[in-house]
């Protein structure tokens, strides 16, 4: 009884979003956002209410409880980390990245998510990688894996290395 289904997580995420944007979450809007019938929403709201995640009174707007807010925030965070990785690093088109992040967010474990965050940060901050390295990856994707201009790339890398480390011992 303690484990949240992917489905309820999705509802909570939508409520969080609607509350942020519209400052209230109405059942109709939840139904539209989820692409389901209103009856399904009522059903979900009852379950979320039972778990103490939302304040729910029939015929009224829904709001998140403090606990619901914490849970929603955690899910949104997972979503963001995955979306950023897919979009910024793998260069996946926004709609696809959005869609995939929406599915993966329910299944990735905390350790992997945490490490993925660190990995992304490391790529951007390590003098050996960074933005131009990522661009080199994009080029290599378009060139079907053959990275054709290594010398030039390495030259710009060396410049970056010098820049980044001029302040270090």
């Amino acid at each position: 009884m303690d484990h949240m289904s992917s489905n309820l997580e999705d509802y909570l995420e939508v409520i969080f979003s609607l509350e942020s944007v519209n400052s209230e979450a109405r059942a109709k809007d939840i139904a539209d956002a989820m692409g389901v019938q209103r009856a399904s929403v009522t059903n979900a709201l009852q379950k979320l209410s039972q778990r103490g995640l939302i304040n729910y009174q029939p015929y009224n707007s829904v709001t998140l409880t403090p606990e619901g807010f914490r849970t929603a925030t955690r899910i949104v965070h997972r979503h963001k980390v995955l979306y950023d990785f897919l979009h910024t690093f793998l260069q996946i088109r926004p709609e696809v990245a959005e869609d995939t992040a929406c599915k993966l967010e329910h299944h990735i474990d905390d350790e992997s998510l945490e490490t993925l965050t660190k990995f992304a940060r490391f790529i951007m901050t390590c003098p050996r990688t960074g933005k131009d390295w990522l661009e080199a990856f994009t080029r290599s994707c378009n060139d079907r894996g053959t990275c054709t201009n290594c010398p030039e790339c390495i030259k710009s890398c060396l410049e970056r290395l010098d820049d980044k480390c001029s302040g270090q011992p």
Copy 2:
């Protein structure tokens, strides 16, 4: 009726594995591998059979049809790509990586999977990254994000760059 559920994908994967290892897949072994009751297996086998993915005759071993084999191979490939990324790049412990790959494999889209493969290959083959860069990432994880020995790391990187590019124009 055309879309495979995560569940059936898991069954197919287990059958594929048992067929590889034992050269046959018996219902009992499938039940054990999946951690479910035999009745659930019977149910799943009937569905897979209806879809033409397995050859199923009551009281006989199960085998994959050519179509089933193709589908299973695709799923196993997804699993492997995800596992390798989690384990080799993010350094996630084998059991956790295994477990997470098992869940994510049902939800990642083809484009992201394909690009993830390229990304992993690029990290290993680009002169600017490779094995020692990955080790630097691991150290930075243990040091809580502060990469302390940049100068030394950069030195070994430069050596690698020279090595890798000595044959290039």
